[in-house]
Amino acid sequence: MSTLTLAPSRRLWPAVWKLIRLRVLISFNTFKHSRTIRKIFIVVAYLALLAFAGLILFLSWRLLDFLRSPSLKQYVGMDVTPFLQAMPVIIFTGLFAGILLSSFGVLLQALYLSGDMDFLLASPVPIRAVFVTKLLQAVLPNFGLISLFGLPVLYGLGLAGNYNFLYYPLVLLTMVVLALAAAGLSALLVMLVARVFPARRVAEILGFVGAILAFTCGQSGNLFNTFGHSANVSGAQVSSMFTLVTRFNTPWFPLNWAGQGLVALGEGRWLTGSLLVVLTLGLSAVAFSFALATAERWYYTGWASMQVVSRRKKPLRTARLPVSSDAIHPNALFVVGASQGLKRLLTAPVWGILWKDFLLLRRDLRNLSQLISPLIFGVIYSIIFLRAGGQAPAGQGEAPDWFTSTFQSLMNYGNIIMALFVGWWLLARLSGMAFSSEGKNYWMLKAAPVRASQMLAAKFLVAYLPTMVLGVFFLGGISIIQKTPPVSFLYGLLAVAMSMAGMNGILLAFGVLGANFKWEDPRKMSAGQLGCLGQFLAMLYLPFAFLLFVGPVWLVPVFHLPPVAGYLGGIILGATITGCCAFLPPWLVRMRVERLGES
């Protein structure tokens, strides 16, 4: 028996310290082994954050000092003291709710989907120590972010109000304890969900919903302005906002006790302040301990359900296929016929890759969120465009006439512009990442007898077909609403189809040059620096391709030629050049495809 075997420590905090030290060591090693430019960037970023926090502190101090001045009350007739007293309440509630919600996704990853959990659970470390470390790990980035804004404001409030010295350390302590309690409850929520649903699926759904919500919120401001809502805030609105915030500061809501207690302590109301702060700290400690104890019991159930592969008995696909032609619905016949026709045009490997990629794009929700963004974007901007009646915005009226008229002419092709813009967005993901999306599975394509040209053709179609569907949807939709003549619509369709094909060729080629197969999460896949260059070139190509088709139509009146000459010129010029862009770049990189994945 070896004498090297030692009894493991069963004490919680030494084990937590060990695990935190390990995490710090990993972070330090990552920093140490990163490139010098990255090291400089990290140091500068942290210094900039510190400076930013300092700036917020200074601005809060001065602003709150100004708001407290008696002369303001005298001139404006508004007493903002209740609002200022409610400020800590708002910040602490925001901190608690923010940590509770934002920690959910992070904790789901950290507790169920990170690679180190098996190792940690198998090692002789108390499981509570693992939870505490994971909680700290999950809570720290969000806590840091909220503190960056909240802490300087709270300290600024203390400085402006000449609060007691006890206020400052207690603000920090309360923030930490509340954040831990929120993270503990969030961990419980994670474990509750993981008992019912597979953690991986929950993470995918969360990523999908989060991305869509973030994107929709980001774009909704534009839509808000379109519907005529002004961004200017009136004095009455400010006053009503102050009243609302003040009403929120009731003593009946436990989350308010922290803020109220700290303000009371700062102002020297010792008894009320101490009572409320001690009550907050005590309740938070109870919540955290309860979460920790319950989590220990719940965790294994959720974790165990991850290890068991659920089997949903599905009917075999072959059984669902119609057995005779009599049983086939006429529409199904059409679909099958179309698909068989397409199959005859495509070789089996191209068809196989196409079919596989469409299945994967649809099934992985993390992919889907990136693909739905262009649709949301297109819908929002189409509404904005159509509400303006297809007219150019008037602006301040200082632009020269030639500019205004050109801008107005451009708006006549709003349907093409919108289709191209939405298509560009979708192609940037589908075409630029076409090869990178294979990830670690690329060996399957590479080891199979598939030509580089077949791979390029398949990837071209994987990007092109959905983009064209989306392009036609926007082009057709806007054209119908604007009552565009059929000839103009068909011409627009050709312009969109050819411009997209050209852009697809450019993005696909640069995607090949920058292909990166080393990623775990599809949201983190990238086409490298060369892929970025491709995106930049595609951005320049887009107006160029548009002008190739639209330019001749614009120019024919100048030369007193019939409109048909413009269309003909546009087709010859545009189709030739965009066609070259579609075929030439992929052809140039075909040799590179054969060497992909060898580095």
Binding site: S310, R311, A348, I353, D364, K440
Partner: protein
């Protein structure tokens, strides 16, 4: 048929920068032969295998599979071979059945043949019940079996396997051994790397030992015994004697 050379490696050199991962390796594997490729970690086994299946281009030398040069005639060479990697990286969001259908398309197989072969392979590897579940719900062993099923989809003349039995239960490991033996009997060439010397000793007709990128021994068990020192009768002793692991084995014995 037994004299037909299905894998032919001549003076293979593969460099990563200044380091030669595989240095001047030459060997042949004939039809009906199970060839075991052994070597310590980092000896160059996986690099050699990746060159054989066309995943890596050699710095120098040639590799022929079923008579086709992997560099100049990659398509027929790849069509003749099946590959099972050490880590089964498969498309996680495809079901087992869809994955096999996809492989059938890649190898340009007839659709009816694909459907029939898929069902046969799923049944053979006991994957029928999980055939409509996505691969990310499979255990490591199930993924390994799916990977092998994919490699067998087109009934290859040459099967190249990198550590095929890692993570498999004894029943599945036995099944794989039986399949490989049956394929060899039907005239296929099997090239497998393994760390389990017992498998190599019992299954392989010939064994090659690679160390630090150089092929240091090739032959049948009897031929290898002649290369070893007196008293080295097991493959483990011969392997450790040739690759310089005998000293470590002695230290381990003392520590027991």
């Amino acid at each position: 048929m037994a004299d037909t050379v299905l894998i032919e490696i001549n003076n293979l050199l593969k460099r990563y920068g200044d380091k030669a991962a595989v240095n001047n390796v030459s060997l042949q594997v004939r039809a009906g032969e199970v060839f075991g490729f052994l070597g310590p970690n980092g000896a160059g086994k996986t690099t050699t295998i990746k060159v054989i299946v066309g995943l890596l281009q050699p710095t120098a030398g040639t590799v022929k599979v079923a008579g086709y040069d992997v560099q100049t005639q990659p398509l027929p060479a790849k069509a003749a071979s099946g590959y099972v990697p050490d880590t089964p990286n498969l498309y996680a969001k495809l079901t087992g059945r869809e994955l096999l259908r996809f492989v059938g398309d890649l190898y340009d197989l007839d659709r009816k043949q694909v459907a029939q072969r898929t069902e046969e392979l799923l049944q053979m590897f006991d994957l029928t019940a999980a055939a409509d579940d996505t691969v990310d719900s499979y255990s490591h062993g199930m993924q390994q079996k799916t990977s092998l099923a994919a490699a067998l989809m087109h009934d290859p003349k040459v099967l190249v396997l990198d550590e095929p039995t890692v993570g498999l239960d004894p029943k599945s490991a036995r099944l794989i051994k039986d399949i490989l033996r049956q394929m060899a009997e039907r005239g296929a060439a099997i090239f497998l790397s393994t760390h389990i010397l017992e498998i190599a000793e019992r299954m392989c007709d010939r064994i090659g030992i690679i160390n630090k990128g150089e092929l240091i021994a090739v032959g049948t068990m009897e031929e290898l015994r002649l290369l070893g020192k007196a008293g080295e009768t097991s493959l483990e002793d011969i392997f450790l004697g040739l690759t310089g692991g005998a000293e470590e084995a002695e230290i381990a014995e003392i520590l027991k």
